[in-house]
């Protein structure tokens, strides 16, 4: 497979901004892990009691929690779940039953105690376990083995395996506001919010953070990832805390939010995927989960409330991950299509164990298919742009005092409804930044154009009927394809001028070459190619659903009108 080389990568190496690991906030946090879990527990209990002022309501919530937990154990059990899960929850249930027989006075301390027990269990489960030794080891292991794979696969000579001609830096392009995020991380606390397409994201972003010279972040990582042992090892050593999306009960959600809130307050740079799960459709997230996002806002308000000195500022940094290829794409899109129109929860099933992952890695590094990571500009917790000194700016470049968002009549006030609204506003801002910093690859554009042409040709069909068309019947004349491709590409150039989108340098140049590059890279490792050329040189597909998935990456830009 011949692929045109990407423009020489200018990525340079960045010096760490904090040399000694013991200076890192994440290290401080895990060193005092026990105290921290206690603090999370007591503050969460306080919050839950505030939310459920009557004991009757609280007991109902605990009953619902126990019921759901037992259901989860019965229906959806994971390898990572603790062994005593079943016995713990049946004892909780029994205690709740006993409470029913007691009178008011006796009940109160009992309920508090029970709540504390549950919350403490959750807090310990969530809490990360960052160890400097295994962090260093993991970091070196990733660098070493990835380096070997890369050189071995690329230098087609004997002994290439041991050369160091290529570094991971050449494979993964970091573009965007790196200098800014480094500056901001020195002055305040960074909350990084990337898009989420693949299970690989978590490891990738860990490497990116290291490569930018930033101290390790604490992660909100899906607990399902910990089922894959090799990922679990890396996640633990990178400072991940666990987010279990099966648990939707009040005590769990409040504990999780409190964990993130307090960690941010203590200055631990944080990362979570605000879309929640991996994007099933392949679209850039439009709706974000507001729970963890709200903790950034609450932490900022609490910091402003601190009478001692100047408050540390929190910076939100959107990041997009751009791939030619997503390993799980066939399953994700299948999920998406079968659930479309029904907004219910479905369990995450990971068919990929450690073995498949390693096999994928080898393929991935052997290929010249690159990944790019776009670092967005820093925002304050309200979504305003900040300058390099961390000042929030309005649209005319005037400095805003962020504290003013939390005051009324000159006083700092706590207004949860107000902060819910702020969270919604922040999430809209993040989504719009995603679209601006998203880097279009040739493969994205080829997929988009091909699918849209077919859709237009069969405009009388709805999506599902379209996807049921036999693939053998689908063929686009190459010249027709090229004309449309050029037209849409021109529009993307125009939009980049307006700051609405970004694209990889390989998108420029002769359209024949760019189309070839796009086709060669689009979903390159799948069994069935999402887009390909036939003997006549015309455009065909072997898997229309997969093409739909990759096409979705460019949905939301109103590019359809140029087809």
């Amino acid at each position: 497979m011949e692929i045109i080389e990407e423009k020489k990568n200018k990525n340079k190496k960045y010096k760490p901004i904090l040399d000694r690991i013991p200076d890192w906030p994440v290290y401080q946090l895990s060193k005092n892990r026990k105290e921290f879990v206690e603090e999370v527990t007591s503050k969460s209990v306080e919050r839950i009691l505030e939310m459920r002022p009557s004991y009757k309501q609280l007991i109902e919530d605990l009953q619902a929690t126990a019921y759901r937990e037992q259901n989860r154990i019965k229906r959806n059990r994971w390898r990572i779940d603790p062994k005593d899960d079943s016995s713990f929850w049946s004892s909780v249930k029994n205690e709740l039953v006993e409470l029913g027989a007691k009178d008011q006075e006796e009940v109160k301390p009992k309920v508090d105690e029970l709540l504390t027990k549950i919350v403490h269990r959750y807090a310990s489960e969530i809490a990360g376990n960052f160890k400097p030794t295994s962090y260093r080891f993991a970091r070196e292991a990733v660098k070493f083995w990835f380096g070997r794979l890369l050189n071995g696969a690329r230098i087609k000579k004997f002994g290439g395996f041991f050369r160091n001609q290529y570094a991971l830096r050449d494979k993964i392009h970091i573009v965007g506001k790196v200098k800014m995020i480094r500056k901001l991380a020195r002055q305040g606390t960074v909350v990084m919010v990337p898009t989420h397409f693949s299970n690989l994201d978590s490891i990738l972003i860990g490497w990116v953070i290291h490569a930018m010279g930033l101290p390790a972040f604490i992660y909100g990582a899906g607990l399902n990832l910990f089922n894959i042992k090799i990922i679990a090892y890396f996640m633990n050593s990178l400072g991940a805390y666990k987010v279990d999306r099966r648990k939707k009960n009040l005590p769990y959600l409040e504990t999780l939010k409190m964990y993130s809130n307090l960690a941010i307050q203590k200055g631990a740079h944080s990362l979570f995927f605000p879309g929640g799960t991996r994007s099933r459709s392949g679209m850039i997230e439009k709706q974000l989960k507001l729970g963890l996002l709200s903790t950034a806002i609450e932490a900022q308000r609490t910091l402003y409330n601190n009478p001692a000195g100047e408050a540390r500022k929190i910076f939100v940094v959107p990041v997009t991950l751009n791939y030619h290829f997503v390993l799980e794409a066939p399953d994700l899109i299948e999920d998406y299509l079968s659930k479309k129109g029904q907004d219910r929860y479905f369990p995450e099933q990971d068919k990929y164990g450690s073995f498949q992952l390693i096999r994928f890695m080898i393929k991935f590094f052997g290929n010249r298919s690159n990944i790019s990571v776009s670092i967005g500009p820093g925002l304050d917790v309200m979504g305003n742009y900040v300058d390099e000194e961390g000042n929030s700016l309005d649209s005319h470049g005037r400095i805003i005092n962020t504290k003013d968002y939390f005051t009324s009549s000159g006083q700092l006030t706590i207004d949860r409804q107000r902060e819910d609204e702020y969270t919604r506003m922040l999430s809209q801002r993040i989504v719009s930044e995603y679209h601006k910093i998203n880097r279009v690859f040739a493969s994205h554009l080829v997929s988009f154009v091909a699918f849209e042409i077919w859709q237009k040709k069969h405009s009388q069909l709805d999506l599902f009927s379209l996807l049921r068309l036999p693939e053998e019947d689908l063929e686009i004349d190459y010249l027709e394809f090229k004309t449309v491709f050029k037209r849409v590409r021109k529009q993307i150039y125009q939009m980049k001028e307006e700051g609405k989108i970004n694209f990889a340098s390989h998108l420029k140049g002769k359209s024949d070459l760019v189309i070839k590059r796009g086709i060669d890279n689009a979903g390159v490792f799948h069994l069935n190619r999402s887009v390909a050329k036939n003997k006549k040189g015309n455009i065909i597909t072997q898997d229309l659903s997969l093409l739909y998935y990759y096409h979705n990456r460019l949905v939301g830009y109103d590019l359809e009108q140029f087809i």
Binding site: M382, N384, S395, H396, I400, Y405, D415, R418, E421
Partner: protein, 351 residues
């Protein structure tokens, strides 16, 4: 803002037109009010005579010509200027605003953001990205986030006479609604709450279209059957258009929707109504506009709503016909004839 005693902090009102003056008077019953007038002669006249536009001005109202002072002294500000001047006003006010300011506007019109060099006459299509409600203008031009709007059957004259009435304060922020309520509510004036600010804003704007049509029916000398027909079909059309523009159905059924619609359609005092009335009497649009002291928001709204309906493929028959009357030289009779012949049979299909 040095005092925590909120009753000493003045409330700002921007725009000393009919509605602005009346609202300032209502607010002045329990607060000091700074009323902004564009013209310094007006400021001087209001402060020395305590008269404006035929209304007595409450002694607690002080007219000013200084945005800086309004931003500095007031925490709550009520902008009440016509939509055609709204953005310009916000650009001047914005440097003096902070995120803690609350802005509750009472303007019922759209703002247009067109591509460079285009005008409403030349632009080919109009979608929601070019049509802004006033709360969106406030967001775009300033750092204010605590934004609300006032809408409802609020004819200035009747409010000034303290006749019973009600309004809706809509905002995403509960604190804005509660503050608006506290400041405006009196024993003759009820205040309802709504969290769908965009829906309430759009309802307030779109009803002006139907008001013109209602005036036209009156001008032709028709009675209450015709009006009942117009109001009910007009309400349906508002729901369709409003949903296409991002509002929720509920807002159109409340005080700011049906409430305001019925009032404006029955009120010869309303400017939009009299535009329709005079058109039906055979006057030319140009003459009517030149003749009016304040802007009839509805004329522009018809044009905007028609183009949006075309873009979003919403069936808006009344708007469409009115457009033809206003801008394409059709007569009111022709429009009415078309509407009555249109084969339309479903009564309600949006709930």
């Amino acid at each position: 803002m040095t005092s925590n005693n909120s009753s000493e902090i003045p409330v700002g009102v921007i725009g000393a037109g009919n509605f602005g003056t009346v609202i300032a008077n209502m607010l002045a019953q329990n607060r000091k009010v700074l009323l902004y007038a564009r013209n310094s002669e007006d400021v001087h006249r209001i402060n020395s005579t305590h008269q404006n536009r035929g209304y007595e001005v409450h002694p607690q109202v002080e007219a000013v010509n200084d945005f800086e002072r309004i931003g500095r002294e007031c925490e709550v500000i009520f902008p009440m200027v016509p939509s055609s001047h709204f953005r310009e006003m916000m650009i001047k006010l914005a440097p003096h605003l902070h995120p803690y300011h609350m802005l509750i506007h009472g303007t019922k019109g759209f703002d247009l953001v067109l591509p460079k060099g285009e005008t409403i006459e030349t632009v080919k299509k109009l979608d929601r990205s070019m049509v802004k409600t006033m709360s969106e203008v406030i967001r775009e031009e300033s750092v204010a986030v605590r934004i609300g709007c006032l809408a409802g059957p609020n004819l200035s004259k009747e409010l000034a006479e303290r006749q019973p009435a009600a309004t809706v304060v809509a905002s995403h922020f509960n604190e804005v609604i509660q503050t608006g309520k506290k400041l405006l509510k009196s024993d003759r004036f009820q205040v309802y709450e709504n969290s769908d600010i965009v829906g309430v804003e759009i309802a307030g704007v779109l009803k002006n279209i139907i008001a013109i049509a209602s005036g036209a029916l009156s001008g032709l000398g028709f009675g209450d059957n015709a009006k009942g027909l117009l109001i009910s079909r007009g309400a349906v059309e508002m729901v369709y258009l409003g949903r296409a523009l991002g509002g929720d159905t509920k807002a159109f059924l409340g005080v700011a929707g049906i409430g305001d619609l019925v009032t404006t359609c029955n009120s010869p005092k309303s400017r939009n109504f009299s535009v329709g009335y005079r058109l039906a009497k055979g006057e030319k649009l140009q003459d009517i506009i030149e003749d009016m002291k304040e802007v009839a928001e509805g004329i522009n709204t018809v044009r905007i709503a028609k183009m949006c309906a075309d873009h979003y493929k919403v069936r808006a028959l009344i708007t469409d016909r009115l457009y033809k009357v206003l801008f394409e030289g059709h007569t009111v009779e022709e429009a009415l004839d078309f509407l009555l012949r249109f084969p339309l049979n479903v009564d309600i299909d949006f709930i």
